[in-house]
């Protein structure tokens, strides 16, 4: 008879959460009695096992009774598995020899029948005991952390993160798809609630990032491939060919001055202005080097022109320049790729794209911006008439099951900001049409009051339609905003000269592809998923990959900055520790049984399984493996087992659960 383990069973009351439904005294007494044969030498129940006193109970028993296994019956492992494992570790028992079974989320919280719930608790504990016998002492895997970091996305969140890490003395690759960093914030005119000039507060950070000795700025570049795992990622980056020799370019601007080809700038100017085929997106661009747009440049289309080359004083134009592929080693990655604005054309009854003087929020920002297409003058599409009445529509594409159900968080403040700017610059009458005014953060409510003071007309009602079908006197030449003022119950026709649609935020169009590239997931709406919505908003389930800013969900600039800094701090912590311990709960392939069918390779959600062509077997990368168990189930040969969730462990748990360890002769049919 093999040596029996010495098992301690601890049943938590969790106040009345468990004890209110399950008879915890009865359960622990039952365990002490009926599970003796399995090796249970002590069973206790206690009000709050997770408290220090509760943990000390376990530790005392381990030391005094020489326990070799521990089963805690309490809440979900999601919450306190680590607590109890650490408690055991503190008493000298390998943490992985402790099992936490849930008799709260899986029992007391979901049943009202107290008798049945108590019986179920017994079954759950019995399963836990049977299983823990087969646990092995495991050691966490330690992987080294490369001190370099990759930040993808050069908006305010990415810039903040990069600066924090760089200032701490570590190297960062900052990759940005556009020719310049700055993101959407560079397009805005003023920022709420302080009405700071957006570029004025952003450009110092941009310049810092551009000059920082610890930041390698890779603009006009994209990540193509990611291999490896936390601590040692190998990232392939494509540096697209600017057509400019950066070593020679001084940023003097003669090339774009002389370029004869005008192109509608759909990116930075939101289609409201033009740029040249060789261009920098805006004057304060970082880096200062322009880019040749090969799709529109006459040379690439017809082989002629080359005006830029002729006039460049430093001979920095290089039409033959090719994309450069770089491979870099990094320890951690921050994804800060931002958002795309909702396409207001989808709401056809608002007339954007059909009625000239309906503008989107981004278009309006460009109108207001002094460096924008109208020099900061708020005028209608004709380029010269100032509006006398402006309507600002909240909730365009947000809070609407027909488009996006979520609230985009920033549009109320944005709309108030617009109201202020219109009033200040044009003296026009301003109407804001809203469902609710969401001004929740610091100084936001005061900003709303400022707008009330300024005489903004607030009409509570979601705009039904914007039309040019004028009918009543005084409406000629105007846009009619049709809405119900819900506070008075009247249906209104509000004639305006200009309508501004406060469009919502959406995930980037390619967010699913980017998520797949980095091995993380998107929510149903398309935003990247954080590790825990309340307690861990910047980490993801994939070790080493962090998210910051709007890529995680709509938020304002302070929140994006905070997330960027938070992600940076997490990474700096890892870098300082030089190595990180990974959960040893993972899958392993038994090479002898592997037939090389590769089914597991494709089912792994974390791309953690490699295939060795020479040996024709698959291997699980322990650093990437999250222990989800998909491959274990998928393997037709049963060649994959999980450490920490082996077949033996699971089958024993099932047996313990179903048969309650009742000796065969006592068993009766259910």
């Amino acid at each position: 008879m093999e040596k029996k383990e010495k098992i301690g069973v601890y049943v938590c009351h969790c106040g009345t959460n468990i004890a209110g439904v399950v008879n915890v005294g009865e359960v622990s007494a039952w365990a002490a009695d009926k599970l003796k044969d399995q090796g249970v030498v002590i069973a206790r129940d206690y009000k709050f096992m997770c408290s220090s006193l509760g943990q000390e109970l376990i530790q005392k028993d381990i030391k005094e009774m020489g326990l070799t296994r521990v089963v805690v019956a309490a809440c979900s492992p999601h919450l306190h598995e680590k607590t109890f494992r650490n408690a055991s570790k503190g008493a000298g028992l390998n943490p992985y020899l402790t099992e936490l079974v849930s008799i709260r989320e899986q029992d007391s919280w979901v049943h009202t029948d107290k008798v049945a719930a108590t019986e179920k608790a017994k079954a759950i504990i019995s399963g836990g005991v049977s299983r823990v016998i087969h646990h092995e002492a495991l050691e966490p895997l330690h992987v080294p952390i490369h001190p370099d970091t990759l930040v993808v996305g050069g908006g305010i969140a990415g810039i903040q993160a990069a600066l924090e890490i760089a200032d701490a003395g570590f190297h960062v690759y900052l990759v940005e798809r556009e020719p310049t960093i700055g993101g959407h914030m560079a397009q805005f005119d003023k920022t709420f609630p302080t009405l700071d000039c957006s570029a004025c507060i952003l450009t110092p950070k941009m310049v810092d990032a551009g000059n920082h000795p610890n930041i390698t700025l890779l603009t006009y570049s994209e990540v193509e491939k990611v291999d490896g795992y936390v601590g040692s990622f190998t990232v392939t980056i494509r540096k697209r060919a600017r057509g400019i020799k950066e070593a020679d370019c001084t940023g003097c601007g003669i090339c774009w001055e002389k370029c004869p080809k005008k192109v509608v700038d759909n990116v930075f100017e939101a289609g409201m202005g033009n740029r040249k085929a060789v261009y920098v997106p805006f004057p304060q661009a970082v880096p200062k080097y322009p880019v040749i747009d090969r799709i529109n440049c006459t040379y690439y289309i017809k082989g002629t022109c080359k005006a830029c080359e002729k006039f460049c004083p430093t001979n920095a134009i290089d039409f033959a320049q090719e994309d450069e592929i770089m491979n870099v080693q990094v320890g951690n990655v921050i994804l800060a790729t931002g958002y795309d604005p909702f396409d207001s054309r989808r709401i056809t009854q608002y007339g954007y794209g059909r009625l000239a003087n309906v503008f989107t929020s981004l278009e309006f920002e460009r109108l207001c911006n002094a460096a924008g297409p109208t020099g900061g003058n708020i005028v209608l599409r004709d380029g010269k008439t100032a509006p006398q009445v402006v309507g600002i529509v909240h909730c365009v594409g947000s809070r609407d099951k027909n488009y996006n159900e979520y609230c985009s968080a920033i549009c109320c403040m944005q709309s108030l900001k617009f109201a202020h700017l219109v009033r200040e610059r044009t003296g026009a009458e301003v109407y804001n049409f809203y469902i609710d005014i969401r001004t929740a953060a610091k100084s936001y409510e005061e900003f709303y009051h400022r707008l009330l003071d300024e005489g903004t007309h607030f009409i509570r009602g979601k705009v039904a339609e914007i039309s040019d079908a004028v009918r009543l006197p005084g409406e000629e030449g105007k846009l009619i905003i049709q809405v119900e003022d819900t506070l008075t119950g009247n249906q209104l026709r509000v004639p305006v000269d200009m309508a501004i649609l406060s469009a919502g935020l959406e995930p980037r169009r390619d967010s699913k592809a980017v998520a797949k590239l980095f091995g993380i997931s998107c929510s149903a709406d398309g935003w990247f998923i954080e590790r825990h919505p309340k307690l861990d908003p910047v980490a993801t389930v994939t070790e080493g990959i962090y998210i910051a800013g709007c890529v995680q969900g709509p938020k304002d600039i302070p929140a994006s900055v905070a997330q960027g800094a938070a992600a940076a701090a997490r990474i700096l912590g890892k870098i300082q520790q030089k190595e990180v311990a990974l959960e040893p709960v993972r899958a392993t392939v038994n090479e002898a049984q592997c037939s090389g069918c590769r089914i597991c390779n494709n089912v792994c959600p974390f791309n953690a399984i490699l295939f060795h062509e020479d040996k024709m077997v698959s291997e699980v990368n322990p650093a990437l493996c999250q222990g989800c168990g998909t491959c274990v189930a998928a393997c037709p040969a049963g060649a994959i087992s999980g450490t920490g969730f082996s077949n033996e462990q699971i089958l024993s748990q099932i047996d313990g659960l179903l048969f309650l360890n009742i000796p065969k002769k006592e068993a009766v049919a259910a």
């Binding site: 009602g461 979601k462 039904a464 339609e465 809405v483 819900t486």
Partner: protein
């Protein structure tokens, strides 16, 4: 013990066959009322109706003309951000109103509807002249005369039916209706 239903629950029960989110999901945004082409003529806008139903204000709801003025154009329904089927709600309220014999005084809709339904039961097809008494006296003297003028012109141009059309299998048809609503209930 009978479980008395709230007015809101009664109305919900009348909306079984239709798809759409429950009325309690209404965020009172006002899109429906902003869209409704008839809102200006209603006692309460569609949005106000929903708020009142959610507050079980049965009397005010049934005493209003709102749902009798709904033209069932469905514009509110396609725009509602909470995907509530507002038009079907209006139908449900009409049904509730008719079967409980409760509606605002002076409305043409209820009488016209009953006349229409009886007409169909009688012949299976529409025959407009039979409907005239239910509304012709409510449009004022000038309206009355213009309506007579209209009818005459339609007649002269061959656009007014003079002989009521009847379907062939009328007996089957009547029994078919009887299987849904016993004939006495409709008369």
């Amino acid at each position: 013990m009978t479980n008395t239903l709230t007015f809101g629950q009664e109305v919900e029960n009348l909306l079984q066959a239709e798809e759409g989110e429950p009325l309690r999901n209404c965020i009172q945004c006002g899109t429906c009322s902003g869209t409704c082409p008839v809102a200006g003529f209603m006692d309460y806008t569609p949005r106000q109706m929903i708020a009142m139903i959610n507050q079980n204000m049965k009397d005010q709801v049934l005493e209003s003309n709102t749902f009798w003025y709904c033209a069932s154009c469905y514009h509110c329904t396609v725009r509602c951000p909470q995907e509530i089927n507002i038009t079907e709600l209006m139908y449900a309220l009409k049904r509730y109103s008719i079967w409980n014999h409760r509606h605002k005084a002076g409305l043409v809709g209820p009488d016209f509807s009953e006349a229409f339904v009886k007409m169909i039961v009688r012949g299976g097809r529409s025959f407009e002249p039979v409907l005239a008494p239910s509304y012709i006296f409510s449009v004022g003297m000038r309206g009355f005369l213009l309506e007579i003028q209209n009818a005459t012109e339609l007649l002269l141009k061959g656009r007014l039916p003079v002989i009521p059309a009847r379907i062939k299998r009328l007996d089957n048809f009547k029994r078919m209706i009887g299987r849904i609503i016993p004939m006495g209930g409709l008369e």
